[in-house]
Symmetry: C2
Subunit: 517 residues, 2 copies
Amino acid sequence: MGMRDVLVGRLGGLANRWPWLAAKVNPLVINKLVSACRTRPHPWSTAHDYVSWTSLTDQRWSARHLPPAEAALTTPTAEELTGLFARSGDQSMSDKSTVLFPAFAQYLTDGFLRTRMPRTGEPEDVRLQNTSNHQIDMCPLYGNNAEQTDVLRLKSDAPGERGRLKSQLVGGEEWAPFLYHDGTKKAEFAKLDDPLGLHPDQTPGRASRIFAFGGDRANAIPHVAMLNTLFLREHNRLAGRIEAANPAWDDERVFQTARNTVIVEFIQIVVQEYINHISPEVYRFRAIPSVAWKAPWNRPNWMTTEFSLLYRWHSLVPDRITWGGKAHQIPDLLHHNEPLLDAGLARAFVGISDQRAARLGPFNTAAALVPIEKQAIEQGRRVRLAPYAAYRQYMNMSPPQSFGDISSDARVVRFLSERYQRPGDVEFYIGLFAEDPSRNTPLPPLIRAMVAVDAFSQALTNPLLSEHVFNEATFSPTGWAVINGTNTLDALVRRNSPHGAVEGPITMTQPGWRHRR
Amino acid sequence: MGMRDVLVGRLGGLANRWPWLAAKVNPLVINKLVSACRTRPHPWSTAHDYVSWTSLTDQRWSARHLPPAEAALTTPTAEELTGLFARSGDQSMSDKSTVLFPAFAQYLTDGFLRTRMPRTGEPEDVRLQNTSNHQIDMCPLYGNNAEQTDVLRLKSDAPGERGRLKSQLVGGEEWAPFLYHDGTKKAEFAKLDDPLGLHPDQTPGRASRIFAFGGDRANAIPHVAMLNTLFLREHNRLAGRIEAANPAWDDERVFQTARNTVIVEFIQIVVQEYINHISPEVYRFRAIPSVAWKAPWNRPNWMTTEFSLLYRWHSLVPDRITWGGKAHQIPDLLHHNEPLLDAGLARAFVGISDQRAARLGPFNTAAALVPIEKQAIEQGRRVRLAPYAAYRQYMNMSPPQSFGDISSDARVVRFLSERYQRPGDVEFYIGLFAEDPSRNTPLPPLIRAMVAVDAFSQALTNPLLSEHVFNEATFSPTGWAVINGTNTLDALVRRNSPHGAVEGPITMTQPGWRHRR
């Protein structure tokens, strides 16, 4: 740890207490994290092995931090490598994270890490492409494009209805409308993507409770539907307040102003609650937009293929998750919104916050998720990622000289050394999750460093946070006051719960957790 | 003129002679010009009157420098205002520009200032949108999207054919293939846009000579087809050299590498030949990419509705243009490629360079073009542009206190004062072209200031010029040598003329023109 790091660490501790100091330290720390690697535009994408106009401009292809390797490994087999992930014995649990942490990570990344999935008859190679807007735009809530946004909106200029998203009351609480009627997608929602992996005829009971959401992954598990429902309510709550404050505004203007506000609230939660949960530092990051205004890393967003792989945190998910006192295995939760509807929103958040996440790392993935670990390894090979060691160097971290440099766990070292000739051969996805855990953070070092770069450089460059946009006029005085108020998941849930407060904290960090020196 | 401007002017003169000084002065001057107004992202677009996620992200709408006025003027009528443009008496001619200047301006801007034109049955309001890629991407040559690029390519891996665009020989010279066969668009070109405003059945002779180009405006007049043909030949010439130097490369890689090179050559001509022609300074700008790498104005491109209006330089076009010794009026040149084919490429360039452009300004537009001046005025009202005075202020220029502040020409002052109550009422489009001409430049002050901002901040931010892309690997050693060689229109025409040199200069600046103090 260099002198500069020590200084930054010390300042960080003080800055939490002294806001004037925080304003100085925040850009310092963020710039340091983001400067670990090359700035955008990335020269390469999955379109070509070399620089092309397509690789520089066609965002249907995923960008890449490093150019492709000559050839992907074929041995060891992907199947064999899943042995690094599959749990043997009891699952080890996180000492820091609640289940709200992986739930939020999934909801967040489903919005922009969107590998294009093959439809019937399409080749596996479509996975080289994506369906991302490359922005934190709340597309799980608002849809992927203007046509989808349109069908999700109530579109009424009647007083009391302006600017609202469509919703329904169930059990006295507000939810998105259901997508299907008698097993058939409602005509009004024809423009919405079908929920990924759902076969409505195979599970008619579950299909009947699928929400008409903007995102094709937002019904995947009830935790994610829970988060999307929260922001649906927050949108409609804000629309009501903005309409009341601006009676001359039409449906369109109320809608757009509420949406501006919700997107910024979400980014505030991403930085201040989610990233601070990930960070091992005492210092707490703040979503101060000005840090990006003159920054050399303020360049057009473009999600990378590496980013979409390093975010597959399957081992965070515990084997069993409890809803309303009943333990569910993961497969039982897929496209299953009934437990969420039964619990109600506030109780769902409190319940999820009361369960420990599992520990991210080797030999800890629940059996049901091991097949998707295999898919991730295959995806890394499909795009011919450079090896793990090359990414360590790219991120200004030492590449491993021995398998022991990757992990101090003898089981991991044995696993790797029996399968790879040299530490330099270890694949990206394998190395990421083989690394030793770090103190005070749920993420091992390389994942954490790359998440920091992509998170800050793509969240804080949001156009709503830009120099000439981030002001009261953009959000209306009502929205601006909300943005400058308290925006934590806990606060959002409480102000959107019609049945009043539910006891217990809503948190990604276990209440008993304390920072260790 | 402040001390700083004097200094910059002096340094500029010296810098032309001393390359080491040029490297210092170039960013200084460019940053000063671009910093005249707000940096992107623009808060507003033609989508909404206020900031919305759509206005910040949906590039089908045009961005705007200033928000819309409450209401557009309805008097004076647009028809009446065309009186400011319509020529009375002899056309006054430019003392600096040849006809190659307006030809190049048209070719350049047709690539990115692309107002969406109503098709049969569509409302006039579609003109609020655009069909631009918001990049200098040579789309008139390569098409607007991947599907169009595909049909323009030869797509052959045979030796001697790799990476080429489709072409044909006519009179021993290389041209794009013809688009129509027996009056019908060829099936292979179905994906190309129809040439804007062409009715092939009404002018079958002309239609038979329409080229299969990427751009729907690239056949509009033979001058523009001439420029596109030049870059078609340069692309195929480069592809041949790149193929020869890299015999293992396939069609795709040769194509992409040639395209990378052609786009940069074009930007070099834009900055070094075209912008220097516009500039009144002695100092000659250079296309040094590094100026943009850390610049606060390096933000995603987005063409503005103001930019598309201020670029309508109809009065630059002389009444009559000579092709092969025959004088043509403008309507006779529309979609008329025969004169170009007859002349051959080199003679066409020399002939265009040998004719004076008209002077840009009031009372000087050829009769045939007056109806499109009216359309421009209507377009300004359609998007409810703020008045001319507001744009002067926005660009850090003094707003007019009297009509005499706009122009020293008594006819212009009389025209404006008879039609507007106050100088502050004068519309953007009217004020732009009413201004007095400036010394040593074809453009009046406000147009020039706004062109400089948009030109530099959108050309030099091209991803091919970016920090980690602008290197030999992106262009291959062959392309890199070309980029570092001489790229003027004159040099390009000569190296792409099979019949050898044609006498006479190829130039936007009249050969006899001298800078005046």
